[in-house]
């Protein structure tokens, strides 16, 4: 009955364009212009003021061109080739998570692998849940042996620390200057934690395109689907669109941080 009434009313409006026009006339405003795409070639037109270090120290700007300030795009390179992981440095090798709950181990593996450290996911699981054993290795055992596909609230901080890596867990990124500091100036990936629905997930951040407000990520996603490469909107990630919970930043070997006064060079 409702549908019938609606149809009659719609028909009446359709058959009386002049009347309909008079009704709509007051409300007719010009359509909004299409939003333009502002893509700045090569860099930002008006560079932001010098970024503040999280500790409040101003980063001095010399006369030399500062690539982190001058260019809108930065990314740590990807390496998909299956090469010896112990020899990889300065590359992000995308890893899938080898268990359904192992995003913590997969992102840790990618982050430390960037510095040439080989830390397979199964070994991390052994370290945490079956100390002193090799129960969950080789990798195929993760999904078949009870307890290997597991997670815990303190992970992966304890795993970073027990593997000789420095990591800051007390800062949550909220603005672009922090992204630039940790990715471009320190040339290091970081871990981004968020909460889809009621569980936490971790992805690795490896770059950005400031011109279009995008952040480049690697999501370890799934044992079967493999890792996922994507660009996420910055505001959605860091300004409340996504349920951003925390970040693991300033990742580097402990020795490098110690030699630099407690933070990564």
């Amino acid at each position: 009955m409702r549908r019938l009434l609606v149809s009659i009313l719609m028909l009446a409006l359709f058959l009386s364009p002049s009347l309909a026009g008079s009704l709509l006339a007051d409300d007719t405003s010009p359509p909004a212009p299409p939003s333009g795409l502002i893509i700045r070639e090569g860099g930002e037109k008006s560079p932001a003021p010098p970024a503040a270090h999280p500790d409040g120290v101003r980063i001095p700007q010399g006369k030399k061109v500062d690539p982190c300030r001058s260019f809108a795009i930065f990314q740590l390179p990807l390496n998909w080739a299956p090469v010896d992981p112990t020899k990889q440095q300065g590359w992000i090798t995308p890893k899938k998570q080898e268990g359904y709950q192992l995003c913590w181990a997969a992102t840790t593996e990618m982050a430390v692998n960037f510095y040439g450290t080989n830390l397979p996911q199964c070994q991390q699981v052994n370290d945490v849940f079956f100390t002193g054993t090799s129960k969950c290795c080789p990798n195929s055992n993760i999904l078949t042996i009870s307890g290997c596909d597991n997670t815990r609230w303190d992970l992966p901080k304890t795993e970073f620390e027990s593997s000789g890596f420095h990591v800051r867990t007390d800062i949550k990124i909220t603005d672009w200057s922090q992204i630039k500091t940790y990715l471009c100036e320190k040339q290091s990936p970081f871990l981004y934690f968020f909460q889809p629905a009621d569980t936490e997930h971790i992805i690795l951040v490896r770059g950005y395109n400031r011109s279009v407000n995008h952040v480049f990520i690697v999501d370890p996603l799934d044992p079967d689907l493999g890792p996922s490469i994507a660009a996420y909107d910055f505001d959605d990630m860091f300004k409340g669109g996504e349920n951003h919970t925390r970040d693991f930043l300033d990742i580097c070997p402990e020795g490098a941080a110690a030699a630099n006064g407690g933070s990564c060079p």
Partner: protein
């Protein structure tokens, strides 16, 4: 005489306007207010269109050749003739509600109200990338917020349950990083797995009643640790 005509004209005009005002309110009340999805459809599509315009520019710019991978392309040349495939609405299932699920529960009731739509992006006819638009909490604004995720969208769109259906949608269970293609087949809520899950005894492409899928996940949901995963 002319005065009388004017008076009559004014009167009939007022009645006409009143009639149309009432009609307009009725249409709004009966159609748009009852079906908010209709009112929002345009906004979702607009956000996706803006995202596609952006993708065209970014992926094809020679200066951005090192970034095309992030947007789901193997090369800048691949990013030509971009078109949308049929969009997929995404419904989430929360772990806490899954833990409460039992064999008599209504599987449909586990789905959270959707706020994301994933648009497959076709380059030269092949699905290569995706754009996900998300709404703000009040559902008044939509924004293209995720680009790429090539392996996920390729998998979601490869099955007949996507290709041969106009009604399938995505069901996502973040607690287990699970994605399914959902649909209603002969009145029954069905889920098609897009990835192998030996632990839960299904294979990619297998279609099962949602009731059965959720039932198989309950004990794992109860046993799941409280950390990230």
């Amino acid at each position: 005489m002319s005065i009388i005509r004017n008076d009559l004209g004014k009167t009939s005009c007022s009645v006409g306007r009143l009639f149309l005002l009432v009609a307009g309110i009725s249409v709004y009340t009966l159609v748009i207010a009852d079906y908010p999805a209709i009112a929002q459809k345009g906004l979702e599509q607009e956000a996706a269109d803006r995202g596609l315009d952006l993708l065209r520019v970014i992926a094809q710019k020679p200066t951005f050749t090192q970034t095309f991978q992030n947007y789901g392309f193997d090369s800048p040349e691949q990013a030509t003739d971009l078109k949308f495939g049929r969009p997929l609405q995404i419904y989430w299932v929360r772990l806490d509600r899954l833990r409460q699920f039992h064999s008599e529960s209504d599987a449909q009731q586990l789905l959270e109200p959707p706020f994301e739509v994933m648009y497959p992006v076709k380059a030269r006819g092949e699905v290569t990338s995706s754009i996900t638009v998300r709404s703000s909490q009040n559902q008044k604004t939509w924004k293209a917020s995720r680009f790429g995720a090539a392996n996920l969208i390729r998998r979601l769109t490869q099955f007949p349950q996507y290709k041969n259906s106009n009604s399938s949608f995505v069901v996502r269970i973040p607690g287990f990083n699970l994605y399914f293609l959902g649909d209603h087949i002969k009145g029954q809520f069905m889920l098609t797995a897009i990835a192998n899950r030996p632990k839960f005894h299904w294979e990619a492409g297998q279609t099962l009643p949602a009731q059965q899928v959720f039932s198989r996940l309950v004990s794992a949901a109860k046993a799941r640790g409280d950390g990230p995963g």
